[in-house]
């Protein structure tokens, strides 16, 4: 059998129907501790799976180029720094509208097609600037909120911050959870808090940042994921980017499996966003493979999957130029954000 016939033989993705309409909101469910109480995640098994995932699947040539384009479409192009200014945010938005050099877009045969990042992600006070800069692009603005990154301001203020950001035009809100609730096993409190945040979001989609680097154990990560989904999170997200350890494949695997379990129990489809430390095109491929293998084709579009990243785009641009020209590229050949 020729390698080229392997794809149809494998039958991947047959039976996995893609849903084209806009993603329905996650409604959540009442708090149910028995959905996660008995779960105990085996670290070694998770690591073994993630260590071999990248070796079990490989995308090369046109396939790799297409997958990297897909990765661009899934990026929440992010700036979350103390020195953010309107000018910096405008520059970021311009890059989000125009992530890839025109000659490369043309060489990839994508001229005339919409190619933007998935969203732009900023602090609440930068939302208005971003919304204006992205006007007409269809790119949503995501805002972090709730006392990002530590989430230790009073609840009322955190909720007010959400309402502020939504009022400024944010269509997506990335909230942070109170880690103390997770670390002390106070899951009901966590559920109640996230439910209030979900309510405050109104029509804006909510991404719950679990700050997995501070939850430490994978069992905590699973439980926090499940509670966040029960409370109506549209996405669950690994990290703020400020923890000691940010997005890792093992943590992502556990969260993705929680999404799968939640889907099985409720029929509700929750999105996933790894964030922090994803800088290389190769990493992006590894995450896309993880999504495809554990959740399926539907989790490979920006309505269900995002990367929280700032530097990743630059590496993808270089890899795509290499695909087009056959020469290894340099950073200064691509417009910066």
């Amino acid at each position: 059998m020729n390698a080229r016939t392997a794809e149809p033989a494998s039958g991947m993705a047959t039976g996995l129907v893609r849903i084209e309409q806009p993603q329905a909101r996650v409604e959540g469910v009442p708090f149910q501790a028995d959905w996660f109480d008995a779960v105990d995640v085996n670290l070694s098994a998770v690591e073994r799976r993630t260590a071999t995932l990248g070796a079990r699947r490989s995308v090369k040539k046109e396939w790799q180029a297409a997958w990297l384009v897909k990765a661009i479409q899934c990026i929440d192009l992010t700036t979350l720094a103390g020195d953010d200014t309107p000018g910096r945010v405008q520059r970021l938005c311009a890059k989000a509208r125009h992530p890839l050099r025109d000659d490369l877009v043309e060489a990839l045969g994508l001229t005339g097609r919409r190619l933007t990042t998935g969203a732009v992600c900023v602090y609440p006070t930068m939302v208005r600037t971003a919304v204006k800069a992205l006007e007409g692009s269809g790119i949503p603005v995501a805002s972090v909120a709730t006392g990002f990154p530590a989430g230790l301001t009073p609840l009322e203020q955190r909720l007010a911050e959400i309402r502020y950001a939504v009022g400024e035009g944010a269509e997506e809100i990335d909230i942070v959870i109170t880690r103390a609730h997770a670390l002390t096993g106070n899951w009901q409190a966590l559920y109640d808090e996230i439910s209030l945040m979900r309510e405050a979001c109104g029509n804006a989609h909510m991404k719950a940042i679990l700050a997995t680097g501070e939850l430490k154990t994978l069992t905590n990560v699973y439980r926090a994921s499940m509670v966040a989904m029960m409370a109506g999170s549209d996405f669950i997200k690994t990290s703020t980017g400020m923890e000691g350890v940010n997005a890792t494949l093992p943590v992502s695997l556990v969260m993705v499996r929680a999404i799968r379990d939640f889907l099985e129990r409720t029929g509700q489809r929750v999105g996933f966003k790894p964030a922090g430390g994803i800088r290389a095109a190769k990493d992006a491929l590894a995450w896309l493979i993880l999504m495809k293998e554990e959740l399926g084709r539907d989790w490979l579009d920006p309505d269900m999957f995002r990367f929280g990243a700032s530097a990743l785009l630059s590496d993808i641009e270089r890899q795509l130029e290499h695909f087009v020209t056959g020469r290894y590229s340099s950073t200064d050949r691509h417009g910066m954000a």
């Binding site: 059998m1 020729n2 390698a3 080229r4 016939t5 392997a6 794809e7 149809p8 033989a9 494998s10 039958g11 991947m12 993705a13 047959t14 039976g15 779960v39 105990d40 995640v41 085996n42 670290l43 070694s44 098994a45 998770v46 690591e47 073994r48 799976r49 071999t52 070796a55 079990r56 699947r57 490989s58 995308v59 090369k60 040539k61 046109e62 396939w63 790799q64 180029a65 297409a66 997958w67 384009v69 897909k70 990839l108 045969g109 994508l110 097609r113 154990t217 499996r257 896309l288 495809k292 293998e293 084709r297 490979l300």
Partner: protein, 805 residues
């Protein structure tokens, strides 16, 4: 639509073929024809050849010459002449050669991986990431053993020229498992590769030559069963190691019986994959993928028999089916392939037949939705089989009992941990087990109770050169890897000079003695009837016969029971029941042995007199024998709580325990000489390690052992731990060798008797230990006691335990 746009929609992986041009150039350089590798050179491929095909598409890869008698003879000759100088090298010198081989393997890693994939059909991911790195690791590890042999194994010598026969499922890895320890020990090798997959062994031979391995140290012959039989039957070999089917293992056991060859067999399995309700279910589902869809399921230790706790079975199977949908079967050279090609059409036919029989038997077969007609058409040129799951399987069905050796999982449910273990052990095999639970108590309890040589907790199909691998029951005996694996290629140095046991007289017939035998000493006391000792009770022999026990002058001392088949049967049943002995602590068993020594010493004079009377050795020598027997028991009382295995760390956050476990029931045939010391020297280590024994004492001089009945009784040796059946040693040894509930047989007697025990033990593939008619000086501690006895009295169970949070 352009290609990128199409892919953006489908998000398919696309093809990702591994380059094979270098391997093809190598095949072309050899003109697609290969001979044998003998005395450091590849021979011309003349005579009969056989075809080697790529199972993925049927393409002819090469033609390889079949080795006949002349070639095997030449290979053994080359190995024999190389043995003198190779075994005389210092450990450091041999270590350097093994290190050079390890480096060669690493330097040509991708070449070997691609060649293996072309030849065998396994996915490139596995050859690249698993097989070849493990091969290099094996040579590195054994370079270390070569360096350390004399320090670590004092008093041992290399076994000699070794014949090794390897299977087609891991051609290069199995070569490494065989060759590395042999060379490290100082042995030389004649290896027979598998007929389906000879190519990587040929490449390895070239690498050896390139690495400067002395000519004749490694020799390779190609061919099928006929060539294998020539190797196995060659009288010039000291050792035969085989990995393959239980059926062939049995043939080899019979063929080599009595030849004096050491034998290690790594055979089939139907290994349980136990999922408790306390398991991380997703982890266990992924474990199944690594268990049975690794190497197309062509893995002797594959977790092919899932046992799932009933309460989670539906959920587990649903998750498993979803996972199966995503497996990719296809070109082995494609980097995104999970399951490649089965090795050959004949194997596909065998898998298909077993699957069809399973369906006919009423079990429910499930295959992924993509395993349809289009799949069949797309793969018809190659040997492809979709991953398959059988549920609704009963333990009694062929599906649950027989090895399928393909990507087929059969699944059953259990209710309680106890039932899980019972089902797990409900098999003639005992190679491996995989146990999934987040509860340490549950997992370890099962790990201890399951009868298997390798146990993976929350993991599966992990291998390492430092961790012994091998089976219980009909999965074979002997270990590969680790310290225990080295011992398979070494022999006690004194054995090389051992002399034959003097031919004994025939046993008198079990009838009353006629007048010519002369009167015995007239007893003033009541007549004492010497009975058998079974289950802690003195029993009359089932036959109703007794045989005369004579003194050296042929005078009657008394009569002993004429044990027969049924007495052995009863003794084994009594031994079976005494399982509490195996579960006792070493300390508890040590106390019993100390007490036994104490009680024997109290009656030393009486025993000495008895020995002298039976054997005529004189009272001084008889007294010495009793004292030595007491000392021997003390020796094993001392050892009982100290032979406790080893711990290895083959990976980060992983402990692998090498746990010596008893065989449970061992049949022992004692030597005629040293009637008390010989008996004690064999029985004490066996029971010290937790075995229960059925023993035939010295056939001509059984009374010393029979006098022990009361000592055993007074020393708190539990009923059934030691069972003694007097009578004709060889007749009783046959019964023991054929008994399927005895796991090991020890025999110290004639050469013919040794051959018979080895041959007849093939039924359930007992671990045998026979003397081949050679004498052992029981009084010499170097020969009569020590680690060798403990090694023989136990089998290593490797338990892999990952941890982490």
């Amino acid at each position: 639509m352009n290609k990128i746009v199409t892919i953006l929609d489908s998000m398919d992986y696309g093809p990702s073929p591994e380059e094979d041009s270098h391997v093809r150039a190598w095949l072309t350089r050899h003109g697609g024809r290969f001979g044998q590798f003998i005395g450091g050179r590849l021979t011309k491929p003349d005579g009969t050849t056989f075809e080697v095909r790529n199972p993925a598409d049927g393409e002819l890869l090469a033609e390889v010459a079949e080795a006949g008698e002349a070639e095997v003879e030449a290979a053994v000759k080359a190995a024999t002449s190389a043995f003198k100088s190779w075994s005389a090298l210092s450990g450091t010198e041999r270590a350097r050669h093994l290190y050079a081989i390890a480096r060669q393997v690493q330097k040509h890693a991708r070449f070997l991986a691609v060649l293996e994939t072309l030849d065998n059909g396994k996915p490139i991911r596995e050859t690249r990431d698993i097989d070849v790195p493990l091969v290099a690791r094996h040579f590195y590890h054994h370079a270390g053993w070569a360096e350390l042999r004399d320090d670590e194994f004092p008093g041992h010598a290399p076994a000699g020229v070794c014949g090794q026969i390897i299977p087609w499922n891991f051609p290069l890895l199995m070569l490494a498992w065989k060759v590395a320890p042999a060379l490290a020990a100082g042995c030389t090798v004649v290896l027979k590769s598998a007929e389906h997959t000879p190519l990587t062994a040929l490449a390895f031979a070239e690498l050896c030559a390139e690495a400067g391995l002395p000519a004749g140290v490694f020799n390779l012959v190609n061919g099928g069963g006929t060539t294998g039989a020539l190797v196995a039957g060659h009288p010039g070999l000291a050792k035969l190691a085989f990995t393959g089917s239980t059926e062939v293992g049995r043939l080899l056991r019979r063929q080599t019986a009595g030849s004096g060859k050491k034998l290690s067999l790594e055979l089939g399995g139907k290994s349980p994959f136990i999922v408790f309700d306390s398991a991380d279910i997703d982890a266990a589902v992924e474990g199944v993928v690594d268990a049975i869809w690794f190497n197309q399921g062509e893995v002797c230790c594959a977790g092919s028999r899932a046992l799932v706790q009933e309460g989670i079975a539906d959920r587990f199977h649903a998750k498993l089916r979803a996972r199966m949908e995503r497996l990719r079967v296809g070109s082995p050279l494609d980097k995104s392939t999970d399951i490649g090609a089965v090795v050959a059409p004949v194997q596909i036919a065998s898998i298909r037949a077993k699957v069809e029989a399973g369906v006919a038997e009423g079990a429910t077969l499930w295959q992924p939705s993509w395993a349809d007609e289009a799949f069949a058409r797309a793969t018809e040129k190659g040997c492809f089989f979709p991953p398959s799951l059988f549920t609704g399987v009963s333990p009694a069905s062929a599906l649950a009992q027989e090895e399928i050796f393909g990507p087929v999982l059969v699944s059953m449910t259990f209710r309680t941990p106890g039932e899980a273990v019972t089902l797990a052990n409900n098999s003639r095999y005992g190679l491996a087990a995989s146990i999934w639970s987040q509860n340490l108590d549950v997992a370890f309890d099962a790990a201890r109770k399951v009868k298997a040589g390798v146990v993976w907790i929350n993991s599966t199909n992990l291998f390492d050169a430092a961790v012994g691998f091998g089976g219980y029951k009909e999965s074979g005996f002997g270990r590969e890897g680790g310290r225990e694996g080295m011992l398979e290629y070494l022999v006690p140095a004194w054995e090389k000079k051992a002399r034959p046991v003097p031919a004994g007289k025939a046993l008198p017939a079990p009838v009353p003695v006629d007048g010519d035998a002369g009167p015995g000493s007239v007893s003033a006391s009541l007549d004492r009837t010497v009975k058998l000792y079974i289950g802690g009770r003195q029993m009359r022999p089932d036959s109703g016969y007794s045989y005369p026990v004579l003194d050296p002058k042929g005078r009657l001392i008394t009569e002993a029971g004429w044990g027969s088949r049924k007495d052995i049967r009863n003794a084994v049943e009594a031994a079976r029941k005494a399982d509490a002995w195996s579960d006792m602590t070493g300390h508890a068993r040590a106390q019993v042995l100390w007490f036994l020594a104490e009680n024997l010493e109290l009656r030393a004079a009486e025993f000495a007199a008895r020995i002298d009377r039976m054997t005529g050795v004189g009272s001084k020598q008889a007294t010495r024998e009793v004292a030595a027997s007491v000392a021997r028991i003390v020796h094993y009382a001392a050892r009982a709580d100290k032979h406790d295995g080893r711990v290895r760390a083959p990976q980060g956050r992983m402990l692998a325990l090498a746990l010596p476990e008893p065989f449970e029931v061992i049949g022992i045939s004692c030597p005629d000489e040293a009637p008390l010391l010989g008996f004690v020297s064999l029985v004490a280590p066996a029971i010290a390690m937790g075995n229960r024994v059925v023993v035939t004492p010295s056939q001509h001089h059984p009374l010393a052992a029979c006098d022990l009945y009361q000592v055993l009784d007074t020393s708190d040796v539990p009923d059934g731990v030691v069972n003694i059946v007097t009578g004709d040693r060889d007749q009783l040894a046959v019964v023991m060798a054929r008994h399927d509930d005895i796991a090991a047989c020890w025999y110290a007697g004639s050469a013919d008797g040794s051959a018979m025990v080895e041959r007849e033990s093939a039924g359930n593939l007992k671990a045998t230990w026979v003397n081949h008619g050679k004498a052992r000086d029981w009084h010499d501690p170097a020969q009569g006691q020590g680690e060798e006895f403990l090694f023989r009295a136990t089998r290593i169970k490797s338990i892999w335990t990952p941890f982490g949070v």
